[in-house]
């Protein structure tokens, strides 16, 4: 019993090992399959992603640059026109003429009506910075611009456009000037103020999406147009752009995270002789929203596809491993059967050898006992006081000798069968014969034998004598197993594909589970000593196995036992050698 549990433990350990091995195998397979299928997919995706990204980004910037350039050129054009307008006034009139405020007013009106109402006012400023004549809505006559920074630049240059500033009037504006000469040779300038709001609006019109906006800054990073209160600009980025030298590539772009941690893109274009820079800014997220959408879709597809691949790989591998494991189990069962058969054959041979060696001395012993018996008959035994005892002993020797003979004969037939010539045999006939022979014995045990035979049963290539022995054994066992008055033994035959199936079923006491693995072993018996040799079923097993069939048992203790014999049927027009089914079907209860 202890040994048994050790063996069981060993088997469990082996099973666990095998499971572990399968798990390892499955993991390795999954890894390989996933890697092989996912790697090209990921590589391809990465390549596509980066090249598409680069191309798309380039396109977006190109587009933005084109837009910004167009607007910058338009603004430049606008400034140039304004400058030309003022220039023309200086070229057309002398200082003295311009000092006449009515002319100046007239000119302002003309400019406003001819060009645009951008012009706010006109002023004549002499070389000292005093404004001797002024036309416009503000009271700026005799204003002194001598200290204004723009004046020093304007007086030094032929024409000039200032940055936006608030100046004396206190509202943001910028001025356009042209320099002329008095008759005395002193310089003077005519300045025109450009309506800031109007100009501002021009730049503000450049909008894209919800976050794309444009503004003008000078090289010091000071705004030349204003922003709405909800619009913010990152001054660090602005400073970086303002510091750019635009001589190499005209439009410049920049990508920078603002303090709110949003990545912004900036496109800048210089204008007004590179004094000013038109800057367009937009949240990168919005500018590339199409790209990001495409990316989102691609990544989703990639993820889903990857999941599908991994899932399929897992499922397939699981199935494969299951198949392999099932095949291995089948093989193990088969191997067990082969080993079992070999074991039985070896035991059979051994038994036969022993039986043969014992048989001769046994014969001599029995003969000697007989001889003593003979001699005693010749003696005058009336005087012998133990004569009867001796007689009994001799009788017993003879009886036991006969028992031994029976055993040895059965053992011998287990190894070397009686009439083992095979021929086409109709098993139904054999079943009927055996049922007839056993009926008498069965009746003593209050048992009836019922036949349930398939009339279209094919023949089987087998030795009828041996088959008869098998059936007799099974029926005898069934009768012996009866422990109740209404014993019923059913002998059935039917066809199952290439097999002829015979069943001997009883409703007797059944076989205890513990005995099941051993019932086909030689010398295993549960019958009382002297009643059974324990060879019947092992002989049956040997015969059926040799004939290419299987014998199996199904038993429920207390309810009965069914032995099932499957033999290869002879197909019409074929010989036994060619029609044997290729594999023996495994039944769970096969021993």
């Amino acid at each position: 019993m202890a040994k048994c549990s050790v063996i069981q433990g060993e088997a469990q350990r082996q099973q666990a090992d095998k499971r572990l091995e399968y798990a390892k195998f499955r993991r390795a397979m999954t890894l390989v399959v996933t890697a092989v299928s996912m790697t090209p997919l990921l590589l391809l995706s990465a390549v596509l992603y980066f090249s598409y990204h680069a191309v798309y980004e380039g396109k977006v910037f190109d587009h933005l640059e084109a837009v910004v350039e167009r607007h910058a050129l338009a603004i430049d054009e606008f400034l140039f026109e304004r400058r030309q307008n003022v220039r023309m006034q200086v070229d057309s009139y002398t200082y003295e003429q311009l000092r006449d405020e009515s002319l100046l007013n007239d000119r302002l009106r003309k400019m406003q009506s001819n060009y645009s109402n951008d012009y706010v006012d006109l002023g004549l400023v002499d070389e000292k910075g005093l404004q001797p004549a002024y036309a416009g809505p503000f009271r700026l006559l005799q204003a002194d611009y001598g200290a204004a920074p723009w004046f020093r630049q304007a007086i030094a240059e032929d024409r000039f456009i200032s940055d936006v500033f608030s100046g004396i009037r206190g509202t943001p504006h910028f001025i356009v000037t042209a320099r002329g000469r008095k008759t005395g040779g002193e310089a003077f300038i005519l300045r025109a103020t450009i309506d800031f709001a109007h100009f501002n609006e021009r730049v503000r019109q450049i909008r894209m999406g919800t976050t794309g906006l444009a503004f003008l800054v000078n090289r010091q990073g000071e705004f030349q147009t204003n922003l709405r209160p909800d619009e913010t600009v990152d001054h660090a980025a602005l400073a970086e752009l303002a510091a750019r030298d635009f001589s190499k590539s005209l439009p410049a772009h920049l990508e920078k995270a603002n303090p709110q941690n949003q990545t912004m893109i900036y496109v800048a274009y210089p204008l007004k002789m590179k004094d000013w820079i038109l800057v367009f800014q937009q949240e990168k997220h919005e500018a590339f929203s199409h790209l990001y959408n495409a990316q989102l879709i691609s990544v989703s597809v990639l993820l889903l596809g990857g999941l599908a691949i991994v899932g399929t790989a897992l499922a397939l591998i699981r199935r494969m491993v299951q198949r392999i494991s099932a095949a291995e189990q089948d093989q193990e069962v088969l191997q067990k059967q082969v080993v079992e058969t070999g074991k039985l054959a070896a035991i059979g041979e051994l038994a036969a050898g022993i039986a043969h060696e014992i048989n001769n001395p046994l014969a001599i012993m029995v003969e000697h006992a007989g001889w003593i018996d003979d001699l005693m008959k010749g003696e005058n035994t009336s005087g012998m006081k133990n004569f009867q005892e001796m007689q009994n002993s001799l009788k017993e020797i003879e009886i036991q000798g006969r028992r031994c003979k029976e055993i040895t004969h059965k053992l011998l037939s287990f190894a070397r069968r009686t009439d083992s010539r095979v021929q086409e045999t109709q098993l139904n006939d054999l079943m009927q014969e055996v049922a007839g022979v056993s009926a008498q014995k069965a009746r003593y045990g209050n048992t009836i034998i019922r036949l349930d035979l398939d009339p279209d049963l094919p023949t089987v290539h087998i030795s009828p004598t041996e088959m008869q022995q098998v059936l007799l054994n099974l029926v005898n066992n069934a009768i012996d197993a009866m422990n109740k008055p209404e014993g019923v033994i059913v002998m059935r035959s039917h066809r199952d594909g290439p097999w002829v199936v015979l069943e001997v079923e009883d409703n007797g006491q059944g076989i205890p589970q513990a005995n099941m693995p051993r019932i086909f072993e030689p010398f295993f018996t549960t019958k009382p000593v002297g009643k059974g040799t324990g060879l019947g079923l092992s002989i049956c097993y040997g015969i059926i196995d040799k004939s290419g069939g299987t014998i199996s048992v199904d038993s429920t203790p207390g309810q009965g036992t069914a032995f099932t014999v499957r033999l290869p049927a002879t197909l019409p027009g074929s010989t036994a050698e060619t029609q044997q089914p290729e594999s023996i079907p495994n039944k769970g209860d096969d021993i």
Binding site: N359, A363, E367, G370, R402, S413, T418, D419
Partner: protein, 143 residues
Amino acid sequence: MTMAKVLLIDDESGFLEVLSKRLETRNLSIVTALSGEAGLKALGKDHALDVVILDVKMPGLDGIQTLQMIKKDFPLVEVIMLTGHATVETAIEGMKLGAFDYLMKPCDIDLLVQKVQEAKEKKAKHEEKIVQAQLKEITSRMA
């Protein structure tokens, strides 16, 4: 007067000895031989032998071979095969080759004696037929 003259061939001397004693007490005259060769010699020497009880398994000439030679050289002698194996095949083969019957060792002595008697009777009848035939021939020649 013995019932029959029997030649017992077996390689086991112990068996031979006790069986011959038992058969002798049953009114049979026994000659023994420990091998097939010795048996054939004995048959050659003693033409009065009626029945041979022959063990199937022996070293040297085995039962079947000995049987064949007996049937060849002494066709009138009846042979009863005694087999240690439950090999009915050998017995059947022996019967086909002309053996009278077979018994399995260890055998019932009375059954054996009965078989010997039957064999002897068969032989006697056979011999009688031969004698009759010879007589017929002689008488027909005389006539």
